[in-house]
């Protein structure tokens, strides 16, 4: 049966197994090389016969499998491509194969097996993320007493990437950094530095510093009991304890703690009972000379809905602030992160990000992650234009909905012709070319149908629009200046 087969409609698993060349001996490797060379020749011929576009659509993602007992396997990315290739190109593919390799008796198109999940962080080599952050594992067992329904787990280990080494210091954060370092190095808490209260805007590195202190304490003495939790988690636990009348267990959680860290303490404000409980916990730990470290968005003096006794307690130790980042700090952070990425990121891209993403460090790092990941996933070179594309949602308030009128106006102005020429019957090149550019942009930037576009250009037929689109697509390849014009206009129109 010399026929190409799409053998398993509705039975995908049957042919999922894919032979690999791993472990194959030299002879097999040579055979594989030869097979690949044949595949290249088959592809070349297909491309010639069916045209570039169709080739890319149907064979662009088809992969060469193996040749076994006269049966050659190809792998298609989707069922749809598999069926289509089998139905429409089957005979040709087989004939071409047989012309380059007489061993091939039939060709079978199978579905490519779904990719195995990658190992976390395989692609971006940012500082290592802790196991709890990146593995798809069941939640870790709870630490200490559980407080019934709704009680979340408490992290037992600091986030691996949040160390002092990974904290980039600059003018805006040097004081908070020094304060955190100092506290981490104390064997015993000093009353005048207890609590350490770090405040600053969202995403500037407060949590990072708290975790960094935790790392140092753990390294010095792994037996030191550090309890880190967010203020919300504190409130949530407390409310649950009240509900289940189990406040004893709740208090137990804090009793044996050596260092208590509460992140985003402003979330306790306005919650009276929780605030009282927090005040009580706080005092009893300070009395036992245990270190307390707090973070907040605001200094104690600016917290709202908070009792005075609480306010003065919070501000009674060392208060350190983190200011908004400067351009220099942002650039320096990006440089540090980029060094850890396996892909080189050009300096002008880092400068562009440092300039544009000025809100906070979290977003800055997120932006760099996105750019690097995009480069890796799509295999695109990292440039400023690429970063602009990838981060369009952060850089622009909205992608503008472009209208045909705007396109016509902008194109007419660019080529210095009258707007009326867009719909005039004149066919002189000086007006026909800009008109074609405008039609091309209308197809690219709007969802109007081709007949609708034709209508807006002096009631032209949709085949005229199709011709214009094809023409500009060709010219973009052969004429650099047209390609530049089109890109420039596109960018201007999209704002």
């Amino acid at each position: 049966m010399n026929k190409i087969q799409a053998p398993f409609k509705g039975d995908n698993n049957a042919t999922y197994e894919m032979n690999t060349v791993a472990g194959a001996d030299m002879e097999e490797m040579a055979g594989r090389k030869e097979l690949e060379a044949h595949w290249v020749r088959v592809c070349d011929r297909l491309r010639k016969e069916i045209g570039d576009k169709a080739f890319k659509t149907w064979f662009g993602e088809v992969e060469l499998g193996e040749l076994k007992a006269g049966k050659l396997r190809l792998y298609a990315p989707t069922r749809f491509v598999r069926d289509w290739v089998g139905r429409h190109y089957g005979d040709r593919v087989l004939a071409y194969w047989q012309s380059v390799n007489a061993e091939v008796k039939n060709v079978e198109v199978n579905l490519v097996p779904p990719p195995a999940p990658r190992r976390p962080n395989e692609i971006i080599a940012m500082p290592p993320v802790p196991s709890s952050q990146n593995s798809h594992q069941p939640p870790m067992p709870r630490m200490g007493p559980s407080i019934g329904r709704g009680a979340d787990e408490i992290s037992q280990t600091p986030e691996a990437r949040y160390t002092f080494n990974n904290f980039v210091v600059g003018k805006p954060n040097e004081f908070a950094y020094a304060a955190a370092r100092n506290i981490s190095e104390q064997d015993m808490p000093l009353p005048e530095r207890n609590p350490l209260y770090i405040f600053g805007g969202v995403g500037l590195g407060k949590t990072h510093l708290m975790h960094a202190i935790w790392h140092v304490i753990r390294e010095r003495d792994p037996k030191t009991r550090v309890l880190y939790l967010t203020a919300e988690s504190f409130v949530n636990r407390f409310i649950q304890a009240l509900r289940t009348k189990n406040t004893g267990q709740f208090k137990e959680l804090f009793r044996n703690v050596d260092v208590l860290m509460v992140d985003d303490v402003q979330f306790i404000c306005g919650k009276e009972a929780s605030q009282d409980e927090f005040f009580f916990t706080f005092n009893s730990l300070v009395e036992q000379n245990k270190q307390i470290i707090l973070s907040s968005e605001k200094p104690p003096s600016e917290l709202q809905d908070i009792e005075e006794r609480m306010r003065s307690r919070l501000g009674s130790g060392l208060v350190a602030d983190i200011h908004s980042s400067t351009y220099e700090l942002r650039l320096s952070i990006l440089q540090t992160k980029a060094e850890n990425a396996r892909v080189p990121v050009p300096v002008n891209v880092l400068e562009f990000l440092a300039h544009k993403i000025s809100t906070n460090i979290r977003e800055l790092e997120g932006a760099l992650n996105r750019v690097v990941a995009h480069g890796q996933l799509i295999g695109r070179e990292i440039t400023v234009e690429m970063a602009q594309d990838v981060l369009h949602d952060l850089l622009r308030q909205a992608d503008r909905k472009v209208t045909v009128d705007e396109i016509q106006q902008r194109v007419a102005a660019h080529y210095n012709i009258k707007l009326a020429e867009m719909s005039s019957p004149r066919r002189a090149r000086s007006v026909a070319r800009p008109r074609q550019v405008a039609m091309y942009l209308a197809k690219q930037l709007t969802t109007l149908s081709l007949p609708q576009i034709g209508k807006r250009f002096g009631n032209r037929d949709h085949t005229t629009v199709m011709h214009a689109v094809r023409k500009i697509e060709e010219l973009k390849v052969s004429d650099h200046s047209i390609a530049e014009d089109v890109e420039l206009l596109k960018r201007q129109l999209q704002g």
Binding site: T78, R79, F80, R118, I123, N236, R370, L394, L450
Partner: protein, 227 residues
Amino acid sequence: MANQLILDLALPPPTYAREDFVLADGNREALAWIDRWPDWPAPALSLNGPSGCGKTHLGRIWAVRSHAVVMEGSDLVGKSVADLTDLAAATPAILVEEAQRAPERGLFHLYNLMRERGGFLLLISPEPPARWSIVLPDLASRLRAAPAVSVSPPDDELLGSIILKQLADRQLHAGAGVVQYLVSHMERSAEAARHVVAALDRRALTERREIDRRLAADVLADLAGAS
């Protein structure tokens, strides 16, 4: 009435299998992100784009792989922290469709809970989170830092493939000429493709006609008249 009564079953149940996904330039990166899971640089990923561009399909592919719980943003309305904690404890992955409708505090808690547990959120919405009007700065900052990938409306090839897929889902066949005709004459969105194929199906059935260019032209004229 001469027309045969046709039960309008609207759209047939779409198949969301990975092998039925039609890959194109506009969705290649989105699929790459889905395949890359759980190697995401943040606990959340935003998948955004206009209606009918394939977001749901991508989301379902991920949900199958990650054993995610699937919900809508509005499902989070009225949920207490305890409810969310239970939810987060029950699953390592949550797919939130229409995520822009989620209440801010609820989404913020859920994000934090998932992060603490090493879980993941896939947020599907028409616009990227950076363009939602978020009041809570902590939530805004977290979502802006997470990767957001846009799925673009289809180009001609993808649109053609979508039409073919829609036809195949209804066990209909049409020649390449009909598909070509539709691609060059209809509004170029996946949503429109769905409507056009549904209308073709209906009309072919009621009028007992072949699906050819003439029927396609009639259907497009009809739809243009209706809009």
